[in-house]
Symmetry: C2
Subunit: 154 residues, 2 copies
DNA sequence: ATTGAAACCGTACAGTA
DNA sequence: TACTGTACGGTTTCAAT
C-alpha cells in the first residue's frame, strides 16, 4: 500500500489543534474556527480520517476520579524464553493502560493505574516469576499528552 | 474542595466506553447504545464532565502519518542542581508529547516522536550537559492506550 | 427519565472560481 | 479540485411532566 506522508496545510493543522482541544465541537464551530464553510470542514475532516492522520476521537479520563489515585511506569525485562508469555500476561492486566515494546535491556515499558500500593504489589506478582521489573511511581506530569509539531518545514 | 470518588453506575460505564471508542458520536446514538433518551444521556455526560471524570474529548493522531516514523521513551536523570532547568527544557521540546516525573533514580520519563535518529540525537543534546539520559526506541505497542477497569466494586 | 416542540446542525447538491 | 450557499432531514435542547 502507498504509505506516503502527505503534508498538512495550515487549515488541516488548525483543525487538528481545535479537535485535540475538544473533539466534540460541532462541524459548524470547527469550520468557523478555521475560516471555512461547514461542508468544506466536513470534507477535510473526512479525508484526514481516511488518510489515517486521525486514528480516533476519544476521551481523556481522570484515573483518580474513577478510583485510581496512583499511577506507575513499570519496566519489564522477561527472563530467557518468557517473552511471549510475559507479553500475554501484560495484555491481560486491565490496569495496564498502555504498554510499549522497546529496544534495550527492558523489553516492555508499561503504564498502569492502581488503587493502592497493595494492589500494585499484587499486579507485579503476576509476572514476578517470569520477568524482572523496575517500578517508578508517577508524582507529576510536567507534559500532559499533547500533539507533536504539525508545522513541518520541508 | 470535596474530592470524593463517587461511583459510576453501569450506564455511566457504558457511556464512557462508547465515547472512548468514538468521542464524536451523536448524543442520540450514545443514548441508544446505553438505553436512554437523548436528554438523559446529555445530562449524564454533562455531569461526568462536571465531576472531572472526563477531562477532555480529544483525538489520537498517527505520528507516522504526520511525518514522525520513530518514537522513543527517554529516561532522564538530571545532574545535581539541574532538576528545574531540565524540567523546563523538556517542556520546551515540542517533540516530547508526554512526560512524567517519577520516583526512583530517573527523575523524568518522556515519550517523544522524531523524523530520524539524527533528529533524536539533536534533541538529546539539549539536555546532555545537564542530565544523563537513557533512550529506548519503541518497536511496537502491545497495549494501545485504553481505559482502566471501570466496573470494580468498591 | 421521558416526551414533544422549537432551535440548531449536518449533509447533499448545485453553483462558482 | 476545492470551496460556498442553500434546503431538507436529523439532532440537540428546553419545558413540562
Amino acid at each position: 500500500m502507498a504509505n506516503e506522508v502527505q503534508s498538512l496545510d495550515e487549515i488541516d493543522q488548525a483543525m487538528l489543534e481545535a479537535l485535540a482541544g475538544n473533539a466534540r465541537i460541532s462541524l459548524k464551530e470547527l469550520a468557523q474556527q478555521v475560516g471555512l464553510s461547514s461542508p468544506s470542514a466536513a470534507e477535510r475532516l473526512r479525508r484526514l480520517e481516511e488518510r489515517g492522520v486521525v486514528k480516533a476521537f476519544t476521551i481523556d479520563l481522570d484515573p483518580a476520579a474513577v478510583g485510581y489515585p496512583l499511577q506507575a511506569i513499570v519496566r519489564v525485562r522477561p527472563l530467557p524464553g518468557q517473552l511471549h508469555m510475559v507479553e500475554r500476561i501484560i495484555q491481560d492486566i486491565p490496569e495496564i493502560v498502555e504498554c510499549d515494546k522497546v529496544t534495550g535491556e527492558d523489553c516492555f515499558i508499561a503504564r498502569l493505574v492502581v488503587r493502592s500500593m497493595a494492589e500494585l504489589d499484587g499486579l507485579l506478582d503476576k509476572v514476578a516469576e517470569r520477568a524482572e521489573t523496575n517500578t517508578a511511581m508517577i508524582k507529576a506530569s510536567p507534559v500532559k499528552r499533547r500533539l507533536p509539531p504539525l508545522s513541518r518545514k520541508r
